[in-house]
Subunit: 234 residues, 2 copies
């Protein structure tokens, strides 16, 4: 992690620790520089990142303010670490329905930039929030990046395993979504009726070097899932 990214995280922690909310003022630049013991340019870069992430806003000649219109239980869709980050106050569990190595079809080859001979881990899970069905997940991991997966890992957090054990650097993600409808099997898993609506969320995750390593389709329970997106104007 670069120094300014670390400082950005520390400022974020400072906001949490001090329970600052929308409109609250942060210390001035000089005080931040002193507090975090880094150069002014590092603080400026960290603040720019936090601004673009929707955590703060800077008003020239007036100060730095907290922007935290977060609502509890909403998934931040611009967060590329999966929804566990947004829902850390909740009890999240997974039931693994399938875990196997498959050959990619042409759509998957395109999404994950694969050759015909490459292999892919397919993980199908039902995910629960506070023991209620929350979403169905079909997730495809390119084996050339995620070389090993097992049931135990899939029952826990695959992304944590990827970052902490495989030491892969997740860079960015592209998410596309729309309303879709459940088939009979999907409805059963979510304890809903066939043809009930769901939010169908399709994401490709990339490593820092731009290589895609995961493609997933999630079908969210219509009443359980709520989402948040911070927007910034340029």
């Amino acid at each position: 992690m670069l120094k300014y990214e670390k400082v950005a995280k520390q400022i974020e922690q400072y906001i949490t620790d001090n329970q600052l909310s929308q409109g609250d003022k942060l210390p001035i630049l000089d005080e931040l520089t002193e507090q975090f013991k880094v150069s002014k340019s590092t603080i400026i870069k960290a603040l720019d990142i936090l601004e673009l992430r929707g955590m703060i806003y800077q008003v020239r000649g007036s100060g730095i303010f907290v922007r935290q219109q977060k609502r509890k239980g909403y998934i931040n869709m611009a967060e590329s670490r999966g929804f566990k980050e947004s829902l850390r106050e909740f009890d999240l569990t997974s039931k693994v329905m399938a875990l196997k190595l498959i050959k990619p079809d042409s759509h998957l080859m395109e999404q994950l930039d694969l050759e015909e001979d490459d292999e892919v881990y397919l993980v199908k899970r039902v995910r629960y929030i506070e023991e209620s069905p929350f979403c169905i997940e079909y997730s495809y991991y390119s084996k050339k990046h995620v070389m090993y997966l097992n049931q135990e890992i899939a029952e826990d957090s695959i992304f944590t395993y990827i970052m902490n054990d495989l030491k892969l650097n997740i860079g960015f993600s592209d998410t596309f979504f729309r309303i879709s409808y459940l088939n009979e099997g999907e409805a059963g898993h979510l304890e809903l009726k066939e043809n009930d609506p769901a939010l169908r969320v399709e994401t490709t995750y990339y490593l820092h070097n731009g290589q895609p390593f995961n493609y997933s389709i999630l079908l969210y329970h219509k009443d359980q899932a709520q989402f948040f997106v911070p927007g910034t104007h340029y």
Copy 2:
């Protein structure tokens, strides 16, 4: 607009003009500096912005690459200028159903940071894409910021009017969404059936100084609306 914001827009234009797509390499830093005739630090800042916006990715020691997993017809939800920006290739029209000054209720007072005596413009529109109903919009503009609105402006782009005529600086937005259901009247406007699902998108827009000036609720047609969110990992 600050210099690096202008350069960011120019680089974006360069990507469009040269029809660059996902994974294509941009000129190296020195060439960009020469091409846009600005300092190296301005280019670096412009590239940082484009990276955080999901337009490019930078791989240390390897170069700057285009990240453009855009799909035509998808609304970028992290774009705080409303959906017109994402859908500029399409014919978008609006029918104004109501335009009036109202007193805010307590929810609106909270969203727009208003006092009891403040007034709010309510604009209700049905919006069409290629002449098909696309969404119903209930939009509330704080009169202390948007001092005047009329039918003609509401039939066109209110945000363009706000930026170009009122010279207000739009800063950021907070968007919350979930699946909801249409009542009879709403279904009629969207040419759907009562209780059909819709994507209910609630957004508060803020000026650069952090003051909220607009709060809106949009109900999107279940089959017409598709969305995109770029995610960045920190």
